[in-house]
Symmetry: C2
Subunit: 132 residues, 2 copies
DNA sequence: TTGCAAATGTTATATTATTACATAGTGTTA
DNA sequence: TAACACTATGTAATAATATAACATTTGCAA
């Protein structure tokens, strides 16, 4: 089910960087880090990011304008994402909880409208920060 | 329970504008609209927005960098927000569904971590756009 | 009526993201 | 293989979003 071989040169460079990072990366920090590999312009980064998001290899943390690699092997395409974000150290983890994703994927509002996609961000203190 | 009287001059001008708007407003569109009222600089807008978000009078739609007035009278402070967003016409509505908010407020991840805050954005097509 | 916290005003600048246009690679199929 | 469509790349310029730093003013409680 892995599509990594399909990635183009720039997409691969940028995915690898994000995938290795322990924390979400911002576009211009990515740019800075890949300049030695010949990626010089913001647009090159944003184009790769757009594509990687589209195919579900990475997710955008909207509240932080930052990107992390998808941690969820069953998440072929990023239509249902949930994250936990520590407001102290900014650690971000992807939540893969079957009950939660089922609940949200099946959620219909008062008018019975169902949704094709959602993004959920939880905020709090991670274990480490809580015990400080 | 209304706190509107507490709003400062700039906060009130900006809240009124957002509250009257049928759609989420972006910071610089707000700036443009309040320049006749003597608010000249981005920072004046952002400061008011920050405060209004903090006290729960408005919410930020993170995926759109835009702001809407809180529709939920019981939402004194914006710690638990959910929105439906039409990907075609960009209509945004706040969802106030007791079951959903209870479910999410009580959600604890694998490690048992509970969260003090969340923001959920659903995407799909609104009724009008679906029938087109 | 002083003193503090919150809010305002102003300039400059940082950060995030897109437009526009030209070129090159990749895969399909006639 | 030639023609085509589609995707990706390269580059420059600029738009859109957001914050830093500093000076001043206002509201209100002790």
């Amino acid at each position: 089910m892995e599509k990594q071989q399909n990635l183009s040169k720039n997409q691969k460079i940028i995915f690898d960087l994000i995938d290795k990072s322990p924390e979400p990366l911002k576009a211009y920090s990515i740019l800075f880090n890949v300049q030695k590999k010949g990626i010089n312009a913001p647009l090159q980064v944003y184009r790769a990011l757009d594509k990687l998001v589209e195919i579900g290899k990475i997710h955008k943390i909207e509240s932080r304008n930052a990107f992390i690699a998808c941690q969820n092997s069953s998440c072929q395409i990023s239509k249902a994402t949930a994250f936990s974000i520590c407001e102290s150290c900014e650690k971000v983890s992807e939540i893969s909880n079957t009950k939660l994703s089922k609940y949200l994927s099946n959620f219909a509002d008062e008018a019975g409208m169902k949704y094709s996609k959602y993004n959920l961000e939880f905020f709090g203190l991670c274990k480490k920060c809580k015990s400080k």
